[in-house]
């Protein structure tokens, strides 16, 4: 049997049906893509519309300059820096752990590990990301804190240090996994080029492979930062619920996220100023995450221009 194909006219039913089908599929794909954009805008709209009335009662100056965050007290104060300091502190501790360990783990997996060992190590490392965060929270509170108290007796039972450390452990696989992918994507001829110059594996890894993969590694860091900023359960359980404008890791502290959890579990009347603070904290958190994402994108774009 011979296969024959013939030209159709623009008016033919077959062709019109096919064009219709194509445009229908195109439209439905567009709608799927649109939905995520719409949801993002919906979230932003809700946050802003609920947060704006807050600023009728509280001036922006007080919001930024007040040194305490006590919205539910008799004499409420709304210094957002108090909560931000908690968020920054725990995030900084987490990254101090996660960035070096995650990067080194990635170098090991990508450059030193045999294929078979990687098949074992990588899933095990990624398992760290599969542990529920509430488990990490209690791990920090009931295991890490008592352990640290043996070394640092002045450590409070709720503290930023152990929450930050555990959060760091939690983030390692995000950083190591993405960084490893980026390093393994570095072409073999760069690796061989360096080794042929008489460089050792270590020199090759840190002087050639890491710089060549840096745009991917930077994305991994940005993801890690976003995870740390937005992490809720660990800090709510282990860091305490005491807003404090301080960068002392040994004291308890409250992050933006932990505050949202604490307040939204109570029964605040809708529309009250206390209720609005939830949205305000959420908005600040969103702005922080967005800022870091933009900075990360910027770094990545500059790196790509430099090295491509």
């Amino acid at each position: 049997m011979a296969i024959r194909s013939e030209f159709s006219t623009p008016q033919s039913l077959k062709r019109r049906l096919r064009n219709f089908k194509e445009s229908l599929i195109g439209l439905s794909l567009f709608l799927c893509a649109l939905s995520s954009v719409l949801i993002t805008f919906g979230v932003i709209y809700t946050l802003i519309s609920e947060a704006l009335p807050f600023f009728k009662d509280v001036s922006l100056k007080n919001f930024i300059l007040d040194r305490e965050w006590t919205p539910l007290f008799e004499n409420p104060q709304y210094g957002i820096l108090t909560l931000m300091s908690g968020t920054f502190l725990t995030t900084a501790i987490a990254l101090t752990i996660a960035i070096p360990l995650g990067t080194v783990a990635a170098v090991f997996l990508s450059e030193y590990c045999s294929h078979r060992a990687r098949e074992i190590f990588k899933p095990l490392l990624e398992l760290l990301a599969a542990v529920p965060t509430v488990v990490y929270g209690y791990f920090a509170l009931l295991f890490i804190t008592p352990l640290l108290q043996k070394i640092i007796p002045s450590l409070e039972s709720f503290n930023a240090l152990s929450a930050g450390l555990v959060m760091g452990i939690m983030i390692i696989p995000y950083i190591s996994s993405l960084s490893e992918d980026a390093m393994r994507a570095v072409p073999l001829h760069l690796r061989e080029g360096s080794l042929a110059m008489g460089a050792s594996k270590l020199q090759t890894s840190f002087n050639v492979i890491v710089p060549a993969a840096f745009s991917g590694i930077a994305s991994a860091y940005v993801l890690g930062i976003s995870r740390a900023l937005g992490e809720t359960m660990v800090v709510a359980i282990a860091a305490g619920l005491q807003p404090r404008l301080s960068l002392n890791p040994l004291e308890s502290t409250q992050t933006l996220t932990a505050y949202i959890v604490q307040v939204s579990m109570g029964d605040l009347p809708q529309g009250s100023i206390g209720y609005r603070t939830i949205y305000v904290a959420g908005l600040v958190l969103l702005i922080l995450t967005l800022t870091f994402n933009l900075i990360g994108q910027n770094i990545r774009a500059r790196m790509e221009n430099k090295y491509k």
């Binding site: 001829h189 061989e192 080794l195 042929a196 110059m197 460089a199 710089p211 430099k306 090295y307 491509k308």
Partner: protein, 253 residues
């Protein structure tokens, strides 16, 4: 004619598969030796024995010698550290592979790996090797811009400069022009001919005209064996072996 190195009855296997079979040839000082032969004949494998690149991948076995003169030291011996071999024998690859660093840092790389810290010395070496690679005039005013911004031909000359900066005993070229356009190729050939004044060169090439034009000696390989070695003029005009003649006249390969 002074020998810089000699390959003596070399067998090489990868995962128990014999790739080189009893290869022997001399490498003369300040001369260009070309390795030619059809794909899969083992010419690149032989080239990568000279700087022990195979050691990176395991499951390999060298049997035989590559002696480096004047000490007549067998660089394939287990007692020799492959990293130290690579410190003495430079290599330029098929595809230009500058590091994602500045032009300056690319050439400084080999010196830094060898522990050189003195900036004035590095600066001097960079200018010197860029001049040798005839790239200095094109890049002297932008040593700090990225090496990857150069054209393909410039990148390959940068890779040559990078290898020259460390004053290698032997320079290995693995089809150095196969990824380049004809003009860049001509430029590199001219450069290589100039370079033999200061360094001994072993070059793998697919391009027979290139071997005839640039190499002093040529060895024809086939199925892992050295079929014929001789002066290029003799190999290309009056080969002794039938296989060599068949290959250079285009009857196969």
């Amino acid at each position: 004619m002074v020998k810089k190195a000699e390959v003596v009855n070399l067998n090489f296997s990868y995962t128990d598969k014999r790739i080189l079979n009893g290869v022997s040839l001399p490498i003369y000082e300040n001369r260009i030796t070309a390795l030619i032969g059809p794909s899969g004949c083992g010419k690149t494998t032989l080239l990568r024995c000279f700087n022990r690149m195979h050691d990176l991948y395991g499951a390999i076995q060298y049997d035989g010698k590559i002696n480096l003169f004047p000490d007549e030291l067998n660089i394939l011996s287990d007692e020799i550290d492959p990293i130290e071999v690579r410190m003495k024998i430079g290599m330029v690859f098929q595809k230009p592979n500058p590091f994602p660093k500045s032009i300056y840092e690319n050439i400084a790389y080999g010196l830094r790996v060898r522990g050189v810290k003195k900036k004035s010395f590095i600066d001097e070496k960079i200018e010197d090797s860029l001049k040798k690679a005839s790239l200095w005039n094109e890049v002297s005013d932008r040593l700090n811009s990225s090496a990857t911004s150069l054209s393909g031909g410039q990148q390959q000359r940068l890779c040559i400069a990078r290898a020259l900066a460390t004053e290698p005993d032997i320079l290995l070229l693995d089809e150095p022009t196969s990824a380049l356009d004809p003009i860049s190729t001509a430029h590199i050939e001219e450069l290589v001919t100039e370079l033999k004044k200061s360094v001994t060169i072993v070059m793998v090439t697919h391009n027979l005209h290139q071997a005839a034009r640039t190499a002093d000696y040529t060895s024809f390989m086939y199925l892992g064996e050295m079929i014929e070695f001789g002066e290029s003029s003799q190999i290309f005009t009056n080969p002794k072996e039938q296989k060599t003649e068949n290959y250079i006249t285009g009857r196969f390969g």
